[in-house]
Structures are given as C-alpha cells and as structure tokens.
C-alpha cells in the first residue's frame, strides 16, 4: 500500500489526461467505529493534489464518515473512534502533536446543508481569518472578503448588502457563501459533503463551475449522490459500499468500465 507522499498514481487510459500528480492525502487501513458498530472498514486511498475526487455510494455506506475523518471532524462525536493512519503531506493527522484546529484551517469543509453563521455576510467570511489572525487591519479584511466572495462566484449578488445576515440569502447563495467562508482561511484541501443536494440546477451548475476553477489551486474531495455530477467534475471517483472502499479509479474508467460488479450495478442504477 502506498503511504509515501511523493508516490505517483500509475497512468491509466482515461478521457482526461492525468499527468504526474502528487499525493496530498494518503490513508492506510482506516477503520471508523460508532460505539460498537463499524462504519468504515480498512479504507486505504490516495487523494491527489490539485484534483477533484468524488466519493459515491448508496446512502449510509460511510462516505460522510470517511470524509469527516480527513479533517478530524469525527473528533467532535463522542462515540466515534478512528483507527489506522491518515497522512496529510506525509504527516499523520491523528498524531497527538497535530492540533485539530490547525488541521481544519488547512483542510476546509463545506457541509451538505448550507450553514452560514447567523451573522452578517461580511462577518461570515471574516470570521475564519479573524480567529486565525490572518489579518488585523479593516482594509485587509475587506480585501479577503471580496476575494473570497469573488472566488465563490457570489460577489456580484451580495456586494451591496454585506452587512445583512447571511441566513437571509437563498439556499444556493448560502451554499456559495459557505464555500467562500471556507476559502477565506486559505485551505489546501476542500472537503465538500453533498454541497449541491439542497440546490436547484442553476445553483448547482454555478457550484460545479466553481469546483472546476478551484481545482487549479486546491485539492477537492466531494461526496455526491449524483452520478452525472461526479462524471462532470471529478478526476477520480471512489465507490463505497457498506463501509468498504470497493473501487477507486479515474472517473471515466469507473463509469465506462468498472472492475467490480457492485460498482457496475450501482452506477447503472440497478441496485439491490
């Protein structure tokens, strides 16, 4: 199993050219338990820098659970227990020396349900940089807020009402606000758990465009139930089933020519 951070993925035949890539996150035999129940079983996977990886699989198969391991959000759940190693740039993130707070600044997260703070749009964005001390002057904050909102393709819609509550925006706008909020702390990795499940097709298209653009600079992991979406945005796709990682391939290969029968059954929609 590959645990060396500089190792490369063997080049396969794909529709999209996959060049030599660096491993950003590498997990080795990760188990997750909720109390006595095991939700993730021996998952080993390499996630690549400046690429989009999609997690797919039927409801309850552990996609969110595994995603939340990557920035230690599972720490906040009392009954959850994580075993195995997860390396970020070669460093074990569950090492006692690693501060989860710092880790979450490097590995940002966008949740399934838009969850802006009940504060102004401006403060929603400025909050992260403020607690991390990324800026001190008002003008610097202004710049960060504008940059983040522009990056998240929502600046034009909200620039005239930055002082109004973020909760007053539409669902799609809220989700882009949450993305902007995550971007404001300059993460290296962005984890997105079904970011479009509450959005209409237009807002979804905007978020997808955004992902395509952000890919240039960030490592992105997205959980989705929408095969088309995975096909559109992801370079690689991982299929989970009942806590196991069944198949992990370049997206084109996984959809066109799955190795496993379960994968084939799931993506062709005849599952049972």
């Amino acid at each position: 199993m590959v645990t060396d951070s500089s190792s490369t993925q063997p080049i396969r035949e794909t529709a999209r050219p996959v060049h030599q890539e660096r491993t950003k996150i590498s997990t080795h035999e990760v188990d997750v338990f909720y109390g006595a129940a095991q939700a993730i079983r021996k998952v080993s996977i390499d996630l690549y820098e400046k690429a989009v990886t999609a997690f797919i699989g039927p409801s309850g198969c552990g996609k969110s659970t595994f995603l939340r391991c990557l920035n230690r959000m599972n720490d906040t759940i009392d009954v959850a227990r994580v075993e195995g190693t997860i390396l970020l740039d070669g460093q074990d993130i569950y090492d006692p020396k690693v501060d989860p707070v710092q880790l979450r600044a490097r590995v940002g997260m966008v949740f399934q349900k838009p969850n802006p703070f009940p504060k102004s749009i401006y403060d929603n964005i400025a909050y992260g940089p403020r607690i991390h001390g990324l800026a001190t002057r008002k003008s610097d904050f202004d710049d960060i807020v504008e940059w983040s909102l522009r990056k998240a393709a929502i600046w034009d819609e909200v620039k005239d009402r930055l002082d109004q509550p973020g909760t007053g925006l539409s669902g799609g706008q809220q989700q882009r606000l949450c993305i902007a909020r995550a971007l404001a702390v300059q993460p290296e990795v962005l984890l997105m758990d079904e970011p479009c499940s509450a959005l209409d097709p237009i807002a979804t298209a905007k978020v997808e465009e955004l992902i395509a653009e952000m890919k240039m600079e960030y490592t992105i992991v997205i959980v989705t139930h929408n095969m088309q979406q995975a096909g559109r945005v992801a370079d690689r796709t991982a299929f989970f089933y009942l806590g196991d990682l069944i198949e992990y391939e370049t997206t084109a290969k996984l959809f066109m020519n799955p190795r496993e029968e379960q994968t084939e059954a799931y993506i062709s929609g005849r599952f049972g």
């Binding site: 906040t76 710092q102 979450r104 969850n115 607690i131």
Partner: protein, 429 residues
C-alpha cells in the same frame, strides 16, 4: 403480490378511512374543549385571586391625612435640645385650638392627641430640626391620622355599630367629623407604602425596607448564581466528558432544583450563620441562600438553551478551524443567550417570591429602618407580607393585600421582561 385480504373490501379502503376520520375529528374537538376548559379554569382562579386582593388591598394605596397649623411653642421646643422636645404636646395644643372643651381633663386630651398618627410628632420634629429658625412660628403640617380614624374614613369601621363594639367612640367620631367639616381631612395617594420602612403603626408602615432588602438579596443571588450557573452549564454541556460521573452530576442538579426551599433555609442557617458566623437577617445571606435555589434553575435553563443551538452552527465554526472554546463563546453562547436570559429571569422571579428560606435565616425580624448595605438586618417582600399577615392590628389587613399586589406586580414585570427579551433577541438560523 395480491392485496392482503384485510385491505380487500367492497367499498374500498377510503370508506373505512372516512369513518375513522370522523372519529379522529371528534376526539380532537374533545381535546380542544378540555384544553379551553383547563385554561378558563386557571384564568378564573387568577381573576378571583386578583379581585380579592385588590378589593381588600386598594384601600392601603390611599391614606387619610390631617392638615394642622401647629405653633412651635418655644416653651416646649428649644433649639439647644433638638432633636428632643415636646413635639407631641405641640401637636396636642394645635388640636386643642379646634376642641377647647377637650382640654378639661387629661384622659380626653390624651384621646384627642391620639387622633393623628403616633408618628406625627416625628414628622414635625424632622421639619423643625431641619430648620430650627421656625421655632416660635406656626407651621402647617400634613400628617397621617392614626389607624382607627383612617379606617373610619375609608368606611371600614361602620358608624352603625354599637359604640361599645366600635374602635372609635362617638366623641372621637364627632371630632373627626368636625375636622372633616373644616376641610382638614384629606385622602391622598399613599406613597408612604413604598417610601417608608416598617412600623408598629399600620398607618406609618411601608415597604421601603422590604423592597431594598429584596433588591439586595436578588442582586446577591444574581451575582452568584448567574455566572456560576452559566459556567457550570457550559462546562457540563460542552466540555465535560460524558460518563458516569457527569450523569450523576446531571441527576443531582435536577434533584437540587426540586428540593423544597425550606431545606435550603436550614442549610443556610447551619452553614452561613452557624459555621461562618454571618449576620442574621442580612440580605447578603438571604441572597446567598436564594442563589442555592436559583442556580439549578439557571443551569437547567442554560443547558437546554445550549442544546437547542443547532449542531450545524457548531460544525460550521469547527470547519473553519475555530477551537472548541471559540465555538462555544463565539457562536453557541450568543445564540443560546435569549434562552439563558429567560431562564435566569424566571429563576430570579421565583427567588423574589421565596419565603421559607428567608424566614429561617431571620429575615422576618421587625426592623424599622431600611438596610443601607446588604449586611444590615432587613426584611424582604415575602417575609414582610408574612409579618404583616401575622400582625393583629386591623390596619395591616389591607396593607398585607397591598404588599402582595406590589410583589405580584414585580413578578409580572419580571416575567413580562423575560418574554420581551426572548422575543427581541430570538434569532432564526
């Protein structure tokens, strides 16, 4: 698969459902009637309580006053002796101007002197002491009449009652009527009820001491229980590991909130007064005792408010890299604050009305001056009501009702404030 036999019927399922709906509607109406009935009953009881209190208490909100022109006789009062002097004689002399025939024998003169309140001489004394140059002048003073005359004026003493069984005899009624004829008797709003401390004489007794005592006690109670209660709740809810110990603590806090208040009184008596030797009857100790009761209420309310903050907000903050304590103090606590405030105010309102623990630490002492500091002996509103309700003088009956009304209005204001704050600060997320 075939339809299960139970669902197979000639008329189809919809007929059965329709019948069932009628039954369900009936039981809903029945429940509604029951609910409206219960609420009406509660309101009726409240109305009866308020009505009976106001009907006896409203008379204590006004007071009968006597206006007198008194000649401050230098023979009775001299500047050197102030604040002592024969002020009672001076007042008696002023009354004798109107009824010269009463001066003939001592007993009648005494009786006439009892028409103004016993406190009249002190009112005059304070006036003269404040400006001694008025010795030798005639001063116009307005003093409360003593309780029997006050009751006579308010119609609480029936003139038709045979003289032997009446608290004022015919001669006294005649004096009073004569003074009234002269326009010297006036009924005024009784500000003394809240501006004067307690007194042996009902016409002079007021709630100032009790109000200030309750204020100090509540302040102490708030200062202790608010930060401690919120701190404990935050720790238990947000930081403490969930295990046997925290379960045990939780159960005990819930039990604490249900402990009868008299038990806290006994505890305070033993610990605060017994071991620590703190002063008896002091609002400081009263407040500390009350905080024992208020704290569990605040803890429970705070924990409920913290729990009600949606987890998505916590996750959002954690997701951008906020530390646990930044999440709690920056996001969760502000969102929980309206709930915490409401719980606190309701806890304090409970404390304001609490009597038993204060009785045990001696806050039912008879004290005729308002406390200057929380360490001075004092009463509190509910204990003052207790004292007055226990007093034999007739005049205290209406004062008791009036004091209850004052207490109730404070409670209504506090509960109203709780509702107002909740509506004002409640935020959507």
């Amino acid at each position: 698969m075939d339809l299960p036999p139970v669902l197979r019927s000639e008329k189809g399922a919809i007929e059965t459902i329709r019948k069932g709906v009628r039954k369900r509607n009936r039981s809903q109406i029945f429940l509604q009637i029951l609910g409206i009935g219960a609420i009406s009953f509660a309101f009726l009881m409240l109305a009866i309580l308020l009505l009976s209190l106001t009907s006896t208490g409203y008379k204590a909100f006004v007071q009968t006053y006597l206006t007198l022109d008194v000649y401050v006789d230098p023979a009775e009062v001299s500047e050197e002796q102030l604040p002592r002097g024969g002020f009672d004689d001076v007042i008696e002399a002023a009354l004798l101007q109107y009824f010269p025939e009463a001066g003939e024998d001592r007993a009648t003169r005494r009786a006439l002197g009892g028409l103004p309140s016993n406190g009249a001489q002190f009112i005059l004394r304070d006036k003269v002491a404040a400006d001694p140059s008025r010795i030798g002048e005639t001063i116009r003073i307005s003093v409360p009449v003593s309780d029997p005359y006050d009751q006579l004026n308010k119609g609480l003493i029936d003139r038709e009652t045979p003289e032997q069984r009446r608290r004022v005899d015919n001669r006294e009624v005649a004096w009073f009527d004569a003074l009234k004829e002269e326009g010297l008797i006036r009924t005024k709003l009784n500000w003394g009820l809240i501006t004067r401390p307690d007194s042996r004489f009902p016409e002079l007794a007021g709630l100032k001491g009790a109000l200030i005592g309750s204020f100090w006690a509540l302040l102490v109670c708030f200062v202790i229980s608010f930060p401690l209660g919120i701190g404990a709740a935050i720790y238990l809810e947000e930081f403490a590991p969930k295990n046997r110990v925290s379960d045990l603590i939780e159960v005990n806090i819930n039990n604490l909130a249900a402990v009868p208040s008299v038990v806290f009184g006994l505890l305070a008596l033993a610990v605060f007064l017994g071991w620590f030797g703190m002063p008896r009857s002091a609002p400081l100790v009263g407040g500390m005792t009350l905080s024992l009761m208020t704290m569990p209420t605040i803890i429970i309310a705070t924990r409920a408010a913290l729990k009600a903050v949606p987890p998505s907000i916590r996750e959002a903050a954690l997701g951008v890299g906020a530390s646990k304590h930044q999440v709690v103090f920056g996001h969760v606590l502000p969102l929980a604050f309206p709930g915490i405030l409401t719980g606190t105010i309701i806890g304090l309102a409970q404390a304001l009305g609490e009597t038993a623990p204060l009785l045990l630490i001696g806050m039912n002492a008879f004290i005729t001056s308002a406390p200057a500091t929380p360490l001075d002996a004092s009463t509190a509103l509910p204990t003052q009501i207790f004292i007055w309700a226990d007093s034999p003088e007739r005049g205290f009956v209406s004062r008791t009702s009036a004091a209850i009304l004052v207490l109730l209005s404070f409670l209504i204001v506090m509960n109203g404030l709780a509702i107002f704050l909740r509506n004002k600060f409640e935020r959507k997320w």
